[in-house]
Amino acid sequence: MAEVKKLATRDGYGKALVELGAQYPDVVALDADLAGSTKTGMFQKAYPDRHFNCGIAEGNMMCVAAGLASTGLVPFASSFAMFAAGRAFEQIRNSIGYPALNVKIGATHGGISVGEDGASHQCCEDFALMRSIPGMVIICPADAVEAEAAVKAAYLHKGPVYLRFGRLAVPVFHEEGFEFKIGKGEVMRDGTDVAISATGLLVYEAVQAGEKLAEMGINAMIINMSTVKPIDEELVLSAARKCGRIVTCEEHSIVGGLGEAVCAVLSEKLPTHVRRIGVNDVFGESGPANALLKAYGLSAENIVEVTKDFCGK
């Protein structure tokens, strides 16, 4: 079997931003001293006159982005998820969300796959924080190709968008030219016994799990739920109707993320049993990214275990 190409979703972000910049002069980028890490350094290099480093001052950066957007520009403001969604939450809520300004937040280094930096930098709360803001769109692409397409879709969407990217290089499985639709889940594999709805780097793990489960006689539907908000209600309900059981997988706390978003839809419209795979309301720790993902149950193996148990096998 050929080696799978691996790229971090943040690389897709950087690449797409440069392409958007070539096409649209209203695209500007802001950073808080992490342009190299967030990959917006690529944009800075290509268009130095419309990249604004704000220094280590994320709250200020979000409001500067709001001011830029109020004049008709389309700013992409970047930092690590911890400092974008975490530190600058109230600035995003009041200066971007409330006035519905056209700011795109490019948050990289989401989740525990940040790795060695440890818990202080492993943001597993950003979906929860951003979901609480009315009108905020939340996208967490599964690979670099989807990330590129998502960034372009975010540009075309009028209003605030929170884009969550990862630091870790992960397998690329979308075809070049993939078209992203905000609010639409992607069925990666059809199935009837259980639906596994995943987001971010867990989509690839879920697909791998789906193959192993099939060998065990469990026919799992696998969904890439890259838009966490607005959630694809129709797909959640049709998967529940068809499979009767749903597993959710996210590199995020089980509190306030994709799992709870899916549960909210189901509990009101079609009560269905759900198992949530995520970071179990604990802080992360230092370690190599892949070892951490395994240790915290964010792997194909654990998805197989949980799903097998869920299906009574």
């Binding site: 709250g59 004049t71 109230e90 600035q91 009041n94 409330y98």
Partner: protein
């Protein structure tokens, strides 16, 4: 400034004060003290300084004003109403359920409001963003923002100041309303932001200090701001909180509360008398 110009501005400022007192009274809540202390500045900005068009509030080349101290919306709304952005009668709808005149400025509902504010420390950053946009797009519009002297205790204010100087935003003018009082009392006792002028200068601003209630000084400082190149300008204006209503002046208790019926009558009588005197009636 010509005496007749000055007189007409003083009349307008008095009308803005009447609008503040009436709107806060009708809302049964709001922030009269810091609205009244900046009444001359609101008046000068909207009637003399800003290049704006009340018939086209979204005109893209307009000058921008961001009320960073968003709780003094009654002052901004009164100035906007008298300038023709919306009917003066609507001021008494302030803070009412369903009203477009929200308690703090809402750019999506109030014509003429350039930025939604209310959370202190954020408006100045947005104003810096607008000024940055003007520079990138090579547009001539200018951006103004008004801050409270208590507000500058917010660290974000200084992050924004750093950015404004770093990007040489000479199209940005920040105004600090130094009325000396915040909710919990004297700013020097609560958490001193002094020396304000030295701090702003060391952050890279050209600084002018003026009497907030003197139109000649306001005009002079804003004219100087136009000539300053390569750095932003800050105007620190010494003001009297609650200016124009005797029992509100220099009283922190009037930072954020409405008058009762008796107080309202006294305030209106005082302001109407001042207006009549200005109008020579």
């Amino acid at each position: 400034m010509h005496q007749t110009d000055k007189k007409s501005l003083e009349i307008l400022a008095c009308k803005v004060r009447l609008g503040i007192v009436e709107s806060v009274h009708s809302a049964r809540a709001g922030h009269p003290g810091g609205s009244l202390s900046a009444a001359e500045m609101f008046t000068y900005l909207y009637f003399k300084e800003l290049n704006i068009d009340p018939k086209n509030p979204q005109w893209e080349d307009r000058d921008r004003f961001v009320l960073s101290k968003g709780h003094t919306a009654p002052g901004l709304y009164a100035a906007l109403a008298h300038r023709g952005f919306f009917p003066v009668e609507d001021l008494t709808q302030l803070r009412h359920l369903g009203s477009y005149l929200q308690g703090h400025p809402n750019m999506r509902t109030v014509p003429g409001v350039d930025m939604s504010t209310g959370s202190l420390g954020q408006g100045i950053s947005a104003a810096a963003g607008m000024a940055l946009a003007g520079k990138y797009q090579k547009k001539d519009f200018r951006v103004y923002t008004l801050l409270g002297d208590g507000e500058i205790q917010e660290g974000q204010v200084w992050e924004a100041c750093m950015l404004a100087a770093h990007y040489k935003l000479d199209n940005l003018c920040i105004i600090v309303d130094n009325n000396g009082l915040q909710i919990d009392g004297n700013i020097a006792k609560v958490m001193s932001p002094y020396p304000i002028v030295d701090k702003l200068q060391s952050f890279g601003f050209h600084v002018e200090t003026i009497d907030a209630h003197d139109f000649d000084q306001i005009e002079n400082a804003l004219n100087i701001a136009h000539t300053v190149k390569g750095k932003p300008t800050a105007i620190v204006m010494k003001s009297v909180k609650g200016k124009g209503v005797s029992f509100m002046e220099n009283n922190a208790g009037w930072h954020g509360k409405a008058t009762n019926e008796a107080e309202f009558e006294i305030a209106m009588t005082e302001l109407k008398a001042a207006l009549a005197e200005l109008e020579g009636k």
